[in-house]
């Protein structure tokens, strides 16, 4: 097991998760979440499960982001205080 890339991916995952939670702009949070899903797919591939990585990249980074953006476009963009 190679520790360098894993720790790098995990550290960025934690940073992205915190950034998505504290972001007031929901569109920004959605785009951060899309990047989170892409890194999560990388982590899955690194753990020798390309099937799950495939699904995560297609569903998490692709379709879910579009559905979130559609939901935001029908409601308010900024989170209420």
């Amino acid at each position: 097991m190679i520790w360098g890339p894993d720790l790098f991916i995990l550290a960025i995952l934690v940073v992205l998760a915190i950034a998505a939670v504290i972001s007031r702009d929901l569109l920004v949070a959605t785009v951060i979440f899309s990047g989170y899903s892409l890194l999560m797919a990388l982590a899955y591939v690194q753990l020798n499960s390309p099937d799950v990585g495939f699904t995560e990249a297609a569903v998490g980074a692709g379709v879910t982001t579009v559905l979130f953006i559609l939901a935001i476009s029908r409601t308010a963009r900024m989170e209420e205080a």
Partner: protein, 142 residues
């Protein structure tokens, strides 16, 4: 869906129009190679559906619906569980249990099993693709 979400850029429209068939081709590759390489029905269905979502975001909703009409989507949505269940019932008729693919029927059992697994994957892919596109259209349409 507000009009501001649709791009009016000619570069985006052209690139999306060129790239979409290749995304669909890659989805078909993932679908047909589901039994010899990573991938399968779910992944392929989502990939092909994302090509239609890309077309809808770049060219607008009506032009995307023009390429995937309601009359085609309606039977495709329900065909996946139908294919799956009918293959299971076929296994019973061939003398096995429900969804026991390895029944000798014109071919050796493992060949029949491989063919039926591919058929099941194709059914899953059809349903997932049509359902995700329909959910997207339902949420985006006004």
């Amino acid at each position: 869906m507000p009009e501001s979400l649709f791009g009016e850029d000619v570069i985006v429209r052209t690139i999306a129009r060129i790239v979409a068939p290749f995304i669909q081709l890659f989805g078909l590759y993932v679908l047909m190679h589901g039994h010899i390489s990573p991938g399968g029905g779910f992944q392929a269905g989502v990939i092909i559906a994302s090509s239609f979502i890309l077309l809808a975001l770049a060219l607008g909703l009506p032009e995307s619906k023009e390429r995937f009409k309601k009359t085609i989507r309606l039977p495709m949505e329900s065909s996946g569980p139908l294919i799956y269940a009918s293959i299971g019932v076929t296994c019973i008729l061939a003398g096995g249990y429900y969804l026991q693919y390895g029944m000798a029927f014109l071919f050796p059992p493992h060949v029949v099993s491989a063919i039926l697994i591919s058929a099941v994957e194709i059914g899953i892919g059809i349903t997932v693709m049509a359902m995700i596109v329909t959910i997207f259209y339902s949420m985006a349409g006004d």
